[in-house]
Point group: D2
Chain length 346, copies 4
């Protein structure tokens, strides 16, 4: 059994790691970390775990954790993982960090967009960006995986194949994204109260959202050149789900079949990326609770643009599910182990 410690187990992403690992055949959670709820029974924080988890919440202690577990998930605010990790710890234990600390290779960009000083930039280089479908081979050997952000995961998987095959113009990409409210976390803020979110839709972080440089870095790798995009996230009155609607101008004349062939080339053998049938739009309801990403596209011949769409569960493929997928890869398990939940509808 793989021994697991979770730092930040009482946020929504942390709780989702728990849900998934409880149904994983080869893991055992031995540390439910939560600074806010130390000594409280985990099921008192999340009553769905009543009679399932008997553990109490423990404080953050990465040193001790490194001695007791095989892998640590950090589902914590930006900066925490970077402030705790060191060479000794990385020699003892694998770390999958769900924060943004090790996602961006250029520390200057990280510090500018996150407005935070990076406490261990020496590990940025070795950290592997854990977008499994793209960096699978590097993940296998990684000590430290930077688990991708929710928007970057959905956006990159929707767009990257067309950039790689040079059928879209990199300087024309616009990403309009929509997310359920669990993405905003479990902090008690007026703006996330039921009555504030319900019956409302809004854009936020327009032209300033922190996932922008992360997406741009990944798309740049795909394009083989520096890519700058517009990225606008929106808050949707639902619990889970991310939908990406992305636009780009076509670099050449293409047919439906040609584009379909490109997506198939990249995703045909991927369990978790489903390229939908012609004219079927991705919808978040069809992936809820699962690790799937549904992608599709539509060519608009009138404007010579292509609309690329992706839908996934922000807490699964956008956070905990991908983290488990990375863990599976790192430990030599079958990649889909514990992740074959059928999407729950309705």
């Amino acid at each position: 059994m793989i021994k697991v410690g979770i730092i930040g187990s009482t946020g929504y992403a942390g709780a989702e790691i728990v849900r998934l690992l409880l149904q994983h055949r080869y893991t055992e959670i031995v540390w439910y970390g939560s600074r806010s709820y130390v000594d409280k029974k985990y099921y008192e924080v999340f009553s769905n775990m009543f009679q399932i988890v008997e553990d109490k919440c423990l404080d953050d202690n990465m040193e001790e954790l490194a001695d007791r577990v095989d892998v640590i998930f950090t589902a914590t605010p930006q900066g925490l993982c970077a402030s705790l990790v060191n060479e000794e710890i990385l020699n003892k234990v694998k770390i999958i960090d769900l924060s943004a600390d090790f996602r961006i290779k250029d520390v200057g960009i990280y510090e500018k967009w996150y407005n935070i000083e990076h406490k261990s930039p020496q590990f940025i280089g070795e950290a592997v960006y854990g977008l499994c479908e793209i960096n699978r081979e590097q993940v296998k050997k990684a000590r430290l995986v930077a688990n991708p952000g929710c928007y970057p995961t959905c956006t990159t998987l929707s767009i990257a194949p067309l950039l790689k095959e040079k059928v879209i113009r990199p300087d024309t990409i616009i990403v309009d994204a929509k997310s359920g409210t669990s993405g905003a976390g479990r902090g008690a803020k007026v703006n996330n109260l039921f009555c504030e979110v319900n019956e409302n839709i809004k854009a936020y972080g327009v032209a300033t959202h922190r996932h922008t440089p992360e997406i741009e870095e990944q798309l740049s790798y795909a394009a083989g050149e520096s890519v700058m995009i517009n990225f606008t996230p929106h808050l949707v009155p639902m619990n889970r789900g991310i939908l990406v609607t992305a636009y780009a101008s076509l670099a050449k004349t293409v047919t439906y079949d040609e584009i379909k062939a490109i997506y198939d080339k990249y995703y045909d053998k991927e369990t978790f990326v489903r390229v939908l049938d012609k004219d079927v739009c991705p919808e978040t309801r069809w992936v809820e609770g699962s690790n799937y990403v549904d992608v599709n596209f539509k060519i608009d011949e009138r404007t010579n643009r292509i609309i690329m769409m992706g839908a996934m569960d922000n807490l699964v493929k956008g956070a905990a599910g991908q983290a488990v997928q990375n863990m599976n890869i790192m430990f030599g398990l079958e990649e889909k182990e514990g992740l074959m939940q059928v999407p729950m509808f309705p």
Copy 2:
């Protein structure tokens, strides 16, 4: 592998049977029945099943099904199962009927409340009411299981122990229940449109709901005498979940510990019934997607009444999950096989 046929696989309950059985180790669905969608790919009706189910929908044909499968689930409108079943079929195949056709032992009561003629009353006697925690032994030997209604399951499990132990007065029971909208089915009706249900709560079927006699019959068995109740269901703007709030006068002075001991006596060894800690109210969010029923109670010394509460997922323990639980029992599998989904939150 147990070969399974589903009649009515494109309703919400039918789809939930599919979701559960796809994650069951010992079953294979060989017949996706749906009169409305014959010849359509199942995943075109429910896109969550894309790349998971390749089958097409088939027409209802219980004769042929009986030759091809080991068990038939009928998730169909009232009357259909009763019109199709016969001795020959029952000799070949086990039937788990999710409709009300075989739940009520008195055919006159059935015909009065459902306003329908029963087409095969000769099988009512042998049909076993599949409330697993109560009728487990009979289910083991049953050819025909009447899978309980959603409200009756939650209500009976919340109240029956106190009736059995004679601590509440049977003539004082009032059941006020609340259900998510999936309970209303997938039929295209104005009253179930998003804008009609959203931002609204209403009672319906007041003093006339068809689950009333079913609940009364089960409570009567528990009480050992004829019980008549008030039952008022309400429609809640959410997808899944049933909450029962039931009231009764106490037959004698009791303490919290005494009542707790009664619930524990009946449910201590039950996997799927969770008696919550003191003063914790059941909430539907904590059971979503799972087969659990959470129950608890509160004594009101001022009025000498007790408030009994139960929460469950109407599509799982209230329909498909309990049906699979019955199947497990009928086929000698471990009862919780394929049913240990951790509740999904949020």
Copy 3:
């Protein structure tokens, strides 16, 4: 013009007073009180007021307010109004208190249920309980009106006529109520976050909710004897609306027409209480944004009980609307002035 000051104008009830008074022909709001947002523009707290309200929020100062306005609405936590009011103030200005401070005549009961010391019990006697349809005459002369709670308003209007006419047994009343989330206020609490409330229903305050003694007092007046009830509120994933489903045993054999005649006797001339047609259940969607209370009933001959139902908008008739209605009465205006909003659907 009636000059109005609002203490607590940045809660949901306070904001609703603002919304209503902005559409009232004879009032002018001169004081937007909000301790939390002093000096902030009111429209920065509630952007719907952009270009409508230019005022800044002001601190609580009842002394100064008493000199500047004709009426003060206090939409504040329990205890605040009682701590501020005094004889001098009451001689200068009318006060409509939306908190519970002056609703309950027995200060001991208030202090027990609210767990708070009452700071000005000397005014409890003269305070008029502002349930307009019942206490209209006293409201006319009042200096201090205790604006009723949301649940007590809906419950009392649904039940009182039958108690007054002695057709139901006072010792059998059970009130099962459901409320939208705006009733929980705008405080930043985890339990009221979108993801916690959405897709969930729960009971809360079972057998302990503070509105219980308030309801009992009002029902006792109607019955002419002391009434004790069970009251269970539930939280519903919607913004606005309260639904009351109340149960009682009939004291004698009655027909539909007899009960209908009783309701009509009390409400025929009331603008804001609508007795629905036979078999039509009140629904919160039909009163949203308006001051209406829809009531109806169903006799269950099987159990000799009657189910009484009421629906209203908790922020209007359950708070701000009734407060304005009281103001209209106190100032000799037509009672419905500024309150004839047509319910908004959907």
Copy 4:
């Protein structure tokens, strides 16, 4: 009093016309048209109207209506108004058509996108496109007003000023729009059931939505040249509200103040268009139930693009409210008469 007839009064837009006109000082509704509910009391279709509207629904009869009323609102499916209108009728009565029949000047484009034959193309020329803020003068003299679509209203008001002032490049416009579900109408379709819409977001009509040519026509007028755009609508799990997020490349270097000055130039004197403060994003919750459109923008210097945003209530400014605004203009009333509802929050 202006006598009003409504054809299609039992759809959501029709019902909203009723709601608004009941609160209008100078109108009287004398014809509640509804082919589906002929002879049914209007309040039986919409119970919010109980004790407010006593009329029965009447069949469509434009001939008779023309003799009895001063203005007809047609809130009906595409094609109906065009099939009923004729010269004689237009000589007797003013018509405000909420369908798309007379919005598009090029009948070929209409017939292609709507896949319908236009039955009275001879009136397209004289019909005035009723986007009040832009075509106010022509509306004054119109016999026939084509009330704009919801998406086109919000999009045009958000973008047109910048096109007119030539600060954005017309060939780079991308419109990503999000709508509440009332925009889908009250027809009983599986796709609009509560459980299908709730907890979901999806794009629809990608590159094919019928509002595309309407938007393009209006933007072309603003630009003074032919404009082609990408338009992608999304369905959001809420009742009301439209949010437009539009993107365009800047045609020259501009500052925040310059763009702000342009919006102010066009909207400073407009009651219903609110240009928000810097960095405040429009949100649908702040306009709900009102005729306001909130607009704002954000310059992204990194990409040299501008993000233009607009929010409004699709049933008010996007349908019924704008129709009433047009009526006010046509009849020489103050434009905001009956339309000063304060947005309702929450």
